[in-house]
Symmetry: C2
Subunit: 205 residues, 2 copies
């Protein structure tokens, strides 16, 4: 998230998967050893940011995302050509449940990632993800609207927000339309590097 509250810039498109200016929010991550390793690159920092970047994949058995995080297409799928932003070997390596209003057959990629398209709501997606994760954790990857829907539902056990010192000015807000905010989540960790502050919350009781 940018300090001014945005998890993506405005005007997402094929050229701007994270919206205009949105990449700046993620720069801290591109500098970590974990992220670089995962993308076949050498070097990178092994600092507190690296620990948090690594956690993105630790003990994750299934992933949930909104369809805007999966692609720039709106409305019905025109054809089956769009296969995600990430090429043939996406960095998930788990079943990924994509929330959408439009049916589509599952899409099996390389490296263990299969995209399943869920049209019957967030509870159903979570049930399917929990079953697929087989005892491991389910990651709700985003974007903003998907995170909000799950935060409102009270189904989130843990929330980590990485705040970059970026002032984006406009875009997709994370903390909006939460009807009073995510209840029951207590702060359990706050650490920072010069590039990003990591806020972690967990459900208590």
């Amino acid at each position: 998230m940018s300090l001014d509250g945005y998890v993506a810039g405005p005007d997402q498109s094929l050229e701007d998967p994270l919206g205009k200016g949105g990449e700046a929010i993620h720069e801290w991550m591109f500098a970590t050893r974990s992220w670089r390793e995962q993308h076949g690159l050498e070097g990178g920092e092994a600092n507190v940011d690296d620990r948090h970047a690594a956690a993105w994949n630790e003990n994750i058995g299934a992933t949930i995302m909104g369809r805007n995080m999966f692609g720039p297409i709106r409305g019905p799928w025109q054809d089956d050509e769009w296969r995600g932003w990430w090429g043939e070997d996406p960095p998930y390596h788990t079943p990924v449940f994509v929330l959408t209003h439009h049916e589509r057959v599952p899409l099996e990629m390389e490296g263990g990632t299969t995209f399943h398209f869920v049209t019957d709501g967030i509870e159903s997606a979570l049930e399917q993800a929990v079953a697929a994760a087989d005892g491991m954790d389910v990651l709700i990857g985003g974007g903003a609207s998907t995170a909000q829907q799950y935060l409102r539902s009270g189904l989130v056990d843990e929330l980590t927000v990485h705040v970059a010192p970026v002032l984006l000015g406009r875009g997709e807000r994370l903390f909006e339309d939460l009807g009073g905010g995510p209840a029951g989540l207590e702060p359990v960790e706050l650490v920072a590097s010069p590039a990003v502050a990591h806020f972690r919350y967990a459900r208590t009781g």
Copy 2:
């Protein structure tokens, strides 16, 4: 600021100067040695938060605030009875310029604080504050609306935002109505304790 973007809770009143729940945003400050010393209390942490709490008063020659930060009264001043939230010796010890639409004679308090009521806009308040500060810095104390007006104007040389791991759910947002965001401010510092992350920006060029 709370992680979800609020610098005060909703429904400010005589009983809730910082709005409902707003005090939680400031708790990190009450724990610092500087704040406690300034309020006649012993003890407190001498950590990174203390350094930032101390900076609130360092080299400050004048202060600007909005009228909601000065008091809960809306509309014309009913009488001269309201003398601020802080008792007879407010923690400013400088001239304080209060932005308001309603004239009122200056109010001299103990300890060097005098409240001046400025009715002709933020540029005028800044000019008066700069003159009064006599080479020292001018602090724009808040609240949200005052900060936004100055951020929009491009007159801010330095911005520090202290983000507490609080999820307030609603209240007064800092980063709103900025018309694309504060331009020209670059991140120069990010440090954190477990209680708060400090984001500092400065104008470059």
